[in-house]
Symmetry: C2
Subunit: 353 residues, 2 copies
DNA sequence: GACCAAATTGCATACGTATGCTACAGTCAA
DNA sequence: TTGACTGTAGCATACGTATGCAATTTGGTC
């Protein structure tokens, strides 16, 4: 009798019937902050439990136009930084009753991506994809959807962004190499159209300039390991190869280190010091033990979630740019005790300590 | 006049009005496989474009009870295998107009996870989480939601699964070590409640038995790098340490290798050969160059998507178990040219070639 | 030119929930 | 006892799309 239609789902109407109340009462019971007497609340909860009722999020979305879904736009998960960020982000959002829907950007198809995003009535979008990010952000913002650029600076003053302090990070990296006694420093760059690379490189140049140095080489790796290997070969085959290498990401640094050690036979850090950016989990693995400028994923995710939650309530939609501070983590690819003036190329030179 | 209400979204009714047709016509235009004349189709598309109309997926879901959302349940993305699988899966599903929603399993809270899953009217669920998988699968299946256990075998005959042939994989690993001349083989196990570990270990034991051998040591690493390190220390501190190590996952093998080489000073493969499972991207990195039994992500994802698509059409909901074949990839942590009978512990022994 | 079949179209309604508004019950004070 | 006021419950409707059914148009044939 009080059985739901044998078809499928139990609805609020079924529960209402079973509890002897109106559908509104059921709805209110499951909507925090609404007025229901304790008596009906219990009746409803009891009936709901008995029937195995679960509110239908889709119907609720249609009614409230709040989907509680956050779209996350990615280009790839190859670089360990992103999986780590996604896991953290997804867990944090889950605590607020929000869920992540994944969108992988396909090349330059902005419209396709946009259509997919918009049809789901997303409550917010986090863009962590290099390609098509700025236009996508603009269009979403225009549609009134809160957007956060994650790990890339905002395309416009309209959209928020969360980045780490890459300029400061660049300075940390450069200063550290100088402190290690390096005086022929090279930069292995990431994609030139990315704000991370731009800022990191700027910071490096700034710090070098301040101490009367300048970059000896600059090669492009475009954040691709294969290109980083090529670049490393070019760098080290110079008549006077660098004695310090700043790599724009850990992910490229692994490739560079492999090439340096296994292919070209260089010793790190005695012949070349290497420092990079991100502090991806593998950077701590024994085989690499990479000195790196860490981006704090917890801090970045926290800011991202805060911005999103803020924008849900505020009508204002004021864009915020959060810059999380960077931190140098010294491991074994650099050596602070390096003897200044030491001639590079000494095959057997070991660093002190 | 034909402007949509200034509030927000453009609806099919707005488009209908603008195109001078009924709302049904608009709906049909955007629903493949329905009858609309070319003439109205063009009128509608034109008006839609002009107004910037996008069909509302949420409303469509309410009406059709097909959300085109696939829930993916994970416990963590630490092991590179999962990010790689997710990216592949998400891209494949996107090609079919489906999207991935992420759910991170929190400890043992089945009911919480389940509620979250069920409220979204998911069209399917892919479970790649170790914990709470079997009960979750059962409940989803009971609710009529297609479930695929990814990289773990089915909890019941009711639910489908996609795994690689881990038994065969275990044999490949064991036989390879025997072929390398190892005769004191140890197994570093993954979580004992996982089907992957169970099958891999079974395969190893089988192959050893066939060739008159048996495992010398067996330690538990529970798929955790920290535990793998501990286990490695225990293994190698035995009076007669193993000369061949089979590790249940690459992710643990990296930790084991780091411990072996950097901490304990063993040479791989001359003193100990190491083989593991998964062929995660980092396994190919120069610093590890790990010999490993590959799980084909493309094949596994392909099967997963096929099963899901099948179950959408079939009412039958026949569960399928797909077993993708494994393949041994030989890199530098094992050496086929190992001299048989060679005494382990020779510090300077180099493998040939 | 008329008639029949086939192809389109529009109408009306369903999907499951949220919420403004009205109606009503209960409390308390005068 | 009556009146005003507070707190609840229920009614009715909106959210945007899909689709069965009936009405209409189209196209073709004799």
């Amino acid at each position: 009798m009080s059985q739901p239609r044998d078809g499928r789902a139990v609805t609020s109407i079924d529960v209402a019937k079973a509890a002897g109340v109106s559908q509104s009462a059921v709805s209110r019971t499951f909507t925090p902050g609404t007025a229901v007497s304790e008596a009906t609340r219990l009746k409803v909860l009891d009936a709901a439990k008995k029937l195995g009722y679960r509110p239908n999020a889709i119907a609720r979305t249609l009614s409230t136009s709040r989907s509680r879904i956050i779209g996350v736009v990615l280009s790839t998960l190859d670089n360990q930084f992103y999986p780590a960020a996604i896991e953290h982000l997804s867990r944090s959002l889950q605590e607020h009753g929000l869920h992540v829907m994944l969108f992988f950007a396909e090349g330059r198809d902005v419209d396709g991506a946009l259509s997919q995003l918009l049809t789901y009535q997303l409550d917010g979008v986090v863009i962590a994809s290099a390609t098509l990010s700025s236009r996508l952000a603009r269009e979403c913002t225009a549609m009134g959807i809160p957007v956060v650029m994650f790990n890339r600076s905002a395309a416009s003053t309209q959209t928020s962004s969360v980045t780490s302090n890459n300029i400061e990070g660049g300075r940390l990296a450069a200063n550290h190499l100088l402190d290690c006694g390096c005086d022929r420093i090279a930069y292995l760059a990431g994609r030139s159209d990315s704000s991370t690379n731009r800022d990191r490189e700027a910071g490096v140049n700034l710090a070098l300039l301040e101490r009367g140095h300048t970059l000896v080489f600059r090669e492009d790796g475009s954040y691709e390991p294969a290109m980083a290997k090529e670049a490393t070969r070019r760098l080290m085959s110079a008549p006077q190869p660098p004695d310090g290498l700043i790599v724009a990401s850990d992910y490229m640094a692994f490739a560079a280190l492999d090439t340096l050690r296994n292919e070209l036979g260089f010793e790190v850090p005695s012949q070349v010091c290497v420092v990079s950016f991100d502090d991806v989990p593998a950077a701590a693995w024994g085989a690499y033990a990479l000195t790196t400028v860490a981006q704090s994923i917890p801090a970045m995710v926290h800011s991202t979630v805060s911005i999103l939650l803020e924008q849900f309530s505020d009508q204002a939609m004021v864009a915020r740019d959060v810059i999380v501070s960077s931190r140098l983590i010294v491991r074994s690819t650099t050596s602070a005790a390096r003897v200044e003036g030491q001639v590079k190329g000494q095959k057997s030179a070991r660093h002190a300590e």
